[in-house]
């Protein structure tokens, strides 16, 4: 019964996704396309939830539907919201797309059935992850365990990726400056409601940060949520005030600090001649060493992500609309 229900949700959400993308191919108003993309991300987050990927769903909802959409709207403010309607060399495009599609259809033909517990994916490495997480790491959320310990090196790379995105955006757009006149209009309802809301968002961010061992969440999601609290503040009360709370100039340093926290935590194990990121070296008891290690690297990820996301937002929103000479 439950399985059928899950399948039903799965089928309808995927159908939704196709409709949304189809609509965005047709649309020429970029605002609409952006909003459609936000919806697309949100629906795919629901789909991830339906497919048991709670952490992924959380991230996709926060990043895809939340931050990316805000970013695209900020970018549209600085560019043009309409697309010139013309379809150029669509024959070539169709050819490439059909070729790719054919290769994909060819490839998926002998995939194991979806959800088949005997598929190699579920037989080879995954059972060991679940078993070892219980034995050696002793936290309930296996995804966090794999993310921060088993494949901690990937996650270190991930933190560097977001850091390098911050560096890239900063190189391209600079930190931006805010003139006093850019204050938003007075809106009492928003002011009253948003203030306690921001407090709630920040508390929720902290909860997600430190509850990642037990449930969905972790440094990355927490960083995005925390940053979105400040983004909300700057949207409602004006960026000038937000920059007074968190000055733009310290954000790159905070992001770098986040990366360094992660890296140095990894290097700690070298002191006792264990490999990079071996958290067993952090404490005399291996399990508590793992706990400490995961806590530290998650803190690094959270800090790096929070500061980079906010930094990128500042870079876009603080840039003046320049008209081409």
């Amino acid at each position: 019964m439950i399985e059928n229900l899950q399948l039903l949700i799965d089928v309808s959400l995927l159908a939704f996704l196709v409709l949304i993308v189809f609509a965005s191919i047709k649309m020429t108003d970029l605002f609409v396309v952006t909003m459609l993309f936000g919806i697309f991300s949100f629906v795919s987050a629901l789909l991830f939830l339906d497919l048991d990927a709670v952490d992924v769903a959380f991230t996709e909802a926060a990043v895809g539907a939340g931050f990316t959409t805000v970013l695209m709207l900020s970018a549209l403010r600085l560019t043009q919201p309409y697309e010139n309607v013309k379809h150029r060399h669509s024959v070539l495009a169709l050819f490439i797309v059909i070729l790719t599609g054919a290769a994909l259809f060819y490839g998926i033909a002998d995939f194991p059935d979806m959800g088949d517990p005997n598929a190699p994916v579920h037989q080879h490495v995954a059972p060991e992850y679940i078993q070892l997480t219980q034995q050696k790491i002793d936290i309930p959320n296996v995804v966090t365990a794999v993310l921060a310990s088993f494949r901690g090196y990937d996650t270190f790379g991930e933190t560097v990726v977001i850091f390098s995105a911050g560096v890239a955006v900063l190189l391209l757009l600079g930190m931006g400056q805010v003139k006093c006149k850019q204050e938003p209009e007075e809106n009492l309802v928003l002011w009253v409601v948003v203030k306690p809301m921001i407090a709630l968002i920040l508390i929720f961010g902290l909860y997600v940060q430190f509850h990642g061992d037990f449930g969905a969440g972790g440094g990355f999601q927490a960083g995005v949520i925390f940053a979105s609290g400040f983004i909300l503040y700057s949207l409602v009360f004006g960026e000038m005030y937000a920059r007074r709370v968190v000055p733009a100039a310290i954000l790159p340093r905070l992001a770098a600090l986040g990366v360094l926290i992660y890296g140095v935590t990894g290097l700690m194990s070298l002191l006792s001649n264990k490999p990079f990121l071996d958290y067993n070296a952090l404490s005399s008891d291996p399990v508590s060493g793992q706990h400490l290690g995961i806590l530290l690297v998650e803190a690094g990820v959270g800090l790096a992500v929070f500061s980079t996301i906010l930094l990128i937002y500042y870079s876009f929103s603080g840039r003046e609309v320049k008209h081409h000479a």
Binding site: I20, M27, N187, V189
Partner: protein, 132 residues
Amino acid sequence: MMIIDWISDICLLLGGILTLTGAVGLLRLPDFFTRLHAASVTETLAAMLLIIGIILDTGFTLDSAKLMLLILIMIIANPTITHALCRAAANGGNTPEMETGNPLQSSSQTVSQSSQDKQVQTETEISGKEPK
């Protein structure tokens, strides 16, 4: 126990019906403000009824406590969002249709402003119908 189950079912059913009416309203109503009105039904009352139905169904656990928090946030946030949207639309030069007596009779053709036309077009295309 029976009664609670009944109440839960009624809540879920009512929530479902309201969601549906909200969706119909979103598609059929003539201008931005009336549509927003329809949407706000879905995002406040319907969503709340659905969540209450679920809470009653699962009984009092940690999950249902979280759901109650969710209701609280929805009560505060959703009307505010609707308000902010309305204001933004009004400030952007989008005025409500006052002249036509019965708003249901004014079709999308009579709505003159281009931004509204676009809105209509968007939603009809999503729903798979041809725009007029």
